[in-house]
Symmetry: none
Subunit: 191 residues, 2 copies
């Protein structure tokens, strides 16, 4: 068959674009030693959009990626928040969060979830975790939908005492107590 060459070229084309998505048809034509028109036909056959569209797709993906990183301020998704009282967030455990050997979720994801929620609950410009008391009760596996609930149990001056419980299917899998220190000077003086 003549078309084996074509198939090979298609493979190579996809490979090349995977490694370097910013190549024009002209550059591709040179590296694959065919005409520009052939490249265009190949792209159409493979459903590969033109350079500009590829670039735009990546840039748009970048935006959501950047937002995702921003949102990591709260590890998990903030569902409900009553400042200085309670906060609720959720987090889905994905396969990349678990230890390979055991399939059990790495502990610091739960810690991070609880820690960030605790900080979010505190109504202060800047807050820092001072002390934490953590207990893992039940191992969590990939696919679990965790729900964290943080409650401010006490407050003394600039210190907030916060209790966070994480549940998976109504079973408490994690519990932590945090002491969060507010660094909001104005607030301290105002009260």
């Amino acid at each position: 068959m003549n078309s084996t060459r074509k198939l090979i070229r298609h493979e190579r084309l996809q490979h090349i674009l995977h490694d370097n998505p910013f190549m024009t048809d002209e550059q591709l034509a040179k590296t694959l030693k065919v005409s520009v028109q052939t490249i265009r036909l190949d792209r159409v056959a493979l459903g590969i959009p033109e350079l500009r569209e590829r670039t735009r797709d990546m840039a748009e993906g970048a935006q959501s990626k950047l937002r995702a990183i921003d949102k990591k301020d709260i590890v998990g998704e903030l569902i409900d928040l009553e400042l200085n009282k309670v906060g609720i967030s959720t987090l889905k455990i994905t396969p990349d969060m678990v230890l390979e050997k055991t399939g059990v979720a790495r502990g610091h994801y739960m810690f991070a979830m609880a820690d960030t929620l605790a900080l979010a609950v505190v109504d202060a410009q800047t807050a820092l975790t001072g002390v934490a008391n953590v207990k893992y009760k039940v191992p969590v596996y990939a696919g679990a939908n965790l729900v964290a609930k943080a409650e401010v149990t006490n407050r003394r001056d600039d210190k907030y005492f916060i209790c966070v419980r994480i549940k998976n299917n109504n079973e408490e899998v994690f519990r932590a107590k945090f002491i969060v220190v507010s660094l909001d000077d104005e607030r301290k003086q105002a009260e």
Copy 2:
């Protein structure tokens, strides 16, 4: 002065493009109710590249961003390890690990560093964190080179008591006590 209008427009232009970088000059002209040429002049004056270039810049930035996320999985670098006795690891705090507001490193990076080191020290096929007791002593800022030292202080059956201290320039910034449970046998996790 007539040029106040221009300055205001420049401000608005930058704002608009910050929120939505994917606008053509034509769209910008409509939203700002001026001609396309004016927009072009404004872009030149402000050093803002054309749409395609902006898009490409973002797409390129996206690639390095993705790599950065991959690397985050390694929480610290293991320097020394004596199984069931001590372990030492290092971690450099990069600007993306700090809270924007304060510039202070997010607490769970230290926690994750300590947690993974504690688990590494335990000579067991599979180990899980059961309980943690954490204290943040000094805020850490970007650029800090943290050194964590984990010591097994006690051992009872399948439970390891581990103390982890993290120092920055010989100053102790973080301390945690973990109870790690080995799952070598069929034992269930800590209670």
